[in-house]
Symmetry: C2
Subunit: 135 residues, 2 copies
Amino acid sequence: MRVKKISHVAIASEDPDQAKLLYEDILGLNFTGSEAIEREGITTYFYEVGESNIEVLEALSKESPVGKFLIKRGAGIHHIALEVEDLDGYVVKLREAGITIMSEEPLPGAHGMRIIFIHPKSTGGVLIELSEKME
Amino acid sequence: MRVKKISHVAIASEDPDQAKLLYEDILGLNFTGSEAIEREGITTYFYEVGESNIEVLEALSKESPVGKFLIKRGAGIHHIALEVEDLDGYVVKLREAGITIMSEEPLPGAHGMRIIFIHPKSTGGVLIELSEKME
């Protein structure tokens, strides 16, 4: 059971085209594609940074979690995702420590990962995703 | 001129001891030490994650930038730092693109880096630090 790396830093965006200009054209990151995740009501745009990614999130509706975040907090960093080994072991350990996980079970995420989210109230205000590659 | 990696994700914290419990004891990250940066009015606590760090920021006063952030937004992710090659080249390129840098010149940061901050109004709400190792 260990954290391997920062999988991505996710950014809630009002303007994915402006984000593309910044991350690809100006900073020179490699844009590796986009993926719609219907369950979460978002389209994600991936930019490689070393072993990690910056993941720009576009809300598909105002009622989606990211849509609500944009209304409440405005555009900005939304969450940090850590890739782990033994996600199920972490689920047990987090629950034992009294930390709130936002789903009963790991859910399917982008790029063929299983993911959980740890509630910001348990982390000092940070929405943390833990992810593991599906076998 | 290129971005090498995510240097760190910085988290403004009301409770560095609670953060240590989460990042070190529960998630199992390696705590590598702390550093006071008087100019910014913060103490930083570093936790290794792959090639990157999670950097927990403690405000030394309410008047410091992180102290003001905590009052205005509450605890949570404060900024993302990207390590680059040719920081001076990026300064020129960012200014040409009309992007606001928050200092005239690169400033000394933690761990012997030269750093600049890009203003969130130029990035879609994200405070972005660019850093380069001093020669």
